[in-house]
């Protein structure tokens, strides 16, 4: 099962490597990991997308909680949540493809944020599957470069994680 785990941790140097080290040392997989400071500069918020059986996910959350720098851990997939990922794609946009690319971007509610006479750079936000779908809809030789942030997640409604 795919799980999205959110954590709040002390914004100390080396905090990221403690989390990454834990995953590699115990053989847990990371599909994506994104991290940045919160409105409180002493805290970082991290979103980890991982896969595992219920037992493995239980161990992952317990082991994360055990890290001294970790303040809070929440498995977002346990309740209502929203996930978003940002992707930048540079695509070939010359000749007859140029108009087609613009249309594809519009269909997926992308924004073209950089233009040359041969390329577009498209910004796209959405769930991981939407971004995958967009890439799937493009012809592979049209894609010049892809960069993705990994998912960020937040609980729905009253589900709030803070210190």
């Amino acid at each position: 099962m795919r799980h999205i785990i959110s954590l709040l941790m002390e914004n100390e140097s080396g905090a990221l490597s403690r989390v990454a080290g834990l995953f590699s040392a115990r053989g847990y997989n990371i599909e994506s990991l994104s991290v940045a400071p919160t409105e409180d500069p002493t805290l970082s918020r991290m979103t980890i997308v991982t896969r595992g059986s219920d037992d493995v996910i239980e161990q992952i959350t317990k082991q994360l909680n055990k890290l001294i720098d970790v303040v809070k851990v929440q498995d977002l997939t346990e309740g209502g949540h929203i996930e978003r990922e940002l992707m930048l794609v540079k695509v070939r946009a010359s000749g007859e493809h140029r108009e087609e690319m613009k249309r594809m971007s519009d269909i997926f509610r992308g924004r073209i944020i950089d233009v040359t006479d041969k390329t577009y750079t498209i910004e796209l936000t959405g769930t991981v599957s939407k971004l995958n779908a967009f890439l799937g809809a493009l012809e592979s030789d049209a894609i010049l470069e892809v960069v993705r942030t990994g998912a960020s997640g937040i609980g729905r409604g009253d589900r709030i994680m803070r210190v």
Partner: protein, 564 residues
């Protein structure tokens, strides 16, 4: 006040009695301050690994935080084995490591290593102190983290310039961390469920581990066991958690545990696990363990130890002593008692298993049996010694044939299984208890992994008794090769052993070689009598073919033991 002085003042404020260490460039300022004070004593080891082991044993024997001090680079890397050893057995340690000056960090400076990076996977936590103003609070945090919750080693890496810089000194009286709040009080509802489950048991079993020793809960384990009349077993790390000579005690369980303990563990219907973690050397294959249905109550201060290898029915996160106190209180307050008829039938079954006498061995008039040496050691010391061991066959024989009456008397590396701990462990214990009988049971492989510490023992005048069970083989390796590799003894025969008597004498100690069974007891009596105040190195030349029984082969289940 300089950073170096702050370090020393912090250690004094923590009431540290001994610092085990080895000086070097990055820690010279700290050593200069140590020189100027006499509130705590510094013990100079001969290798940094031994400094950490000695501090670790001091902690195991006393329950206080052990402290080691080493320099940057090789000092820190040499300390890593000691740190990993303490981490695996949850021992509270503060290890202070020197670091190159902050401006030189990352420049591949002389004796630079990324200590925080290298130690990260084998510490409870670590710190790099970049500002002298954070030094005191960081050391306070280090002691707090090391000693609380599930204990463990904490490394504080201190760059040399931080020890030179100055700031006002104030040692925080207490520390609070929003990210670290161990749970001590068990969940009331779960405790009630546990009490009910224990009272309903027909075939109960109590299984306790190192957590009972670390959590000072031996008294509670003993009281609860006797109150209920249940059978009890200890893990290798938990020996002394229940008085071994007592009939309710089934002996150690696990790979080299007794037949009765392992069978009772496999066939019980309610299992109370306290401060133990169902590791591979204890239950073997978890699938085999799960074949028999049983309900499990698990008390542990570390939530991640619960339901890790084995699914648990009643998890109780908390301080083991506090939780057991509450369980005892509730049982005593109620009138309900376990089903005596069922308990009687269960004990009859256990006595049948016990009648196998699985620890019997072939006695000999001509060659010294290693088990015999441990039995005699028990007799001569009146069962009252602190026994440290190294890792291998001798470790298992010591655990099997020296019945421990009290907690914190059996000091060994259970988790990491570090050969070479025995002698430095004995140093830490002997310094903590100068009047106590301290014995290091070892093998000729292990003892040579920290043999240089004989020199430290001379400097500190430590009257340790070394019991070397010398079978000329890396015995446990040889045993596995005999059982599982068709007797192909690849590199397990130790050729060209030193003359241990001369070696001991060269370091200024007493050496003896004992080759006949009838000389075993007189040698031990001399060691604890005539040479009471000296370190005595007893080289017992033992039967090279003796194996440790019973044995559960790796990956097999508790009821798949190889008996003699």
């Amino acid at each position: 006040m300089t950073g170096a002085e702050i370090v020393v003042r912090c250690l004094q404020a923590e009431g540290v009695a001994y610092v085990f260490g080895y000086p070097g460039g990055a820690v010279l300022n700290i050593y200069d301050e140590i020189y100027k004070q006499d509130q705590f004593k510094h013990v100079l080891v001969r290798h940094e690994q031994a400094a950490v082991h000695a501090a670790d044993a001091y902690a195991r024997a006393t329950g206080r935080v052990g402290v080691a001090l080493v320099t940057s680079g090789p000092g820190a890397t040499n300390a890593i084995t000691g740190i990993a050893t303490a981490y695996m057995d949850s021992i509270p340690l503060v290890v202070l490591t020197g670091q190159v000056p902050t401006a030189a960090i990352g420049m591949d400076a002389f004796q630079e290593v990324d200590t925080v990076g290298i130690s990260r996977p084998c510490v409870k936590h670590n710190f790099l102190v970049k500002d002298v103003r954070e030094l005191a609070s960081t050391i306070k945090k280090a002691f707090y983290i090391a000693a609380t919750g599930r204990p463990g080693p904490v490394v504080v890496d201190i760059p040399k310039d931080v020890t030179q810089q100055s700031c006002p000194f104030e040692y925080p009286a207490e520390i609070r961390m929003r990210s670290y709040n161990p749970t001590y009080r068990g969940h009331a509802g779960q405790i009630r469920r546990a009490v009910q489950m224990l009272l309903e048991a027909k075939r109960p079993m109590i299984y306790t581990g190192g957590g009972v020793i670390l959590g000072d809960a031996a008294e509670q384990v003993t009281e609860l066991t006797r109150l209920l009349g249940f059978p009890v077993t200890n893990t290798l790390m938990g020996l002394g958690g229940y008085p071994a000579p007592d009939p309710l005690f089934l002996g150690m369980l696990g790979m080299h545990g007794t037949f009765e303990a392992n069978m009772a563990m496999q066939h019980c219907d309610v299992l109370l696990a306290v401060g133990a973690r169902f590791d591979d050397r204890v239950i073997g294959n978890p699938k085999h363990f799960a074949k028999e249905a049983r309900r499990i109550i698990h008390i542990d201060v570390d939530p991640s130890s619960i339901s890790k290898r084995v699914k648990v029915d009643v998890p109780i996160v908390g301080d083991v002593a506090q939780v057991l106190d509450e369980i005892i209180r509730q049982i005593k307050a109620g009138s309900e008692r376990p089903d005596q008829a069922a308990l009687k039938a269960w004990w009859a079954q256990i006595e049948l298993w016990r009648s196998q006498d699985c620890l019997k061995y072939e006695r000999s008039e001509t060659v010294i049996k290693p088990q015999y040496v441990i039995e005699k050691l028990y007799e001569v010391t009146g069962g009252d010694a602190y026994v440290t061991s190294d890792v291998g066959q001798h470790q298992m024989w010591a655990a099997q044939y020296y019945p421990f009456n009290k907690p914190r008397r059996w000091i060994n590396s259970g988790g990491l299984g570090t050969m070479g701990v025995g002698l430095p462990y004995a140093m830490g214990v002997q310094l903590a208890f100068p009047e106590a009988k301290v014995v290091c049971v070892t093998g000729e492989g292990s003892i040579q992994m920290n043999i240089q510490e004989l020199s430290t023992c001379m400097q500190e005048k430590l009257p340790i008794k070394i019991v070397l069970l010398n079978n000329r083989y890396l015995g446990m390796v040889r045993q596995w090769q005999e059982f599982f590799y068709e007797e192909r003894y690849a590199e397990s025969y130790v050729d060209a052993l030193p003359d241990f008597v001369k070696l001991a004498e060269a370091y200024g100690h007493v050496g003896m070689t004992i080759e006949r069974p009838q000389d075993v007891e007189p040698a031990l009596r001399d060691a604890f009598g005539k040479y009471k105040d000296r370190l005595v190195f007893m080289n017992f030349v033992t039967d090279p073919h003796e194996n440790v029984y019973p044995m559960i082969p790796a990956g097999k289940g508790l009821s798949e033991m190889i008996l003699v």
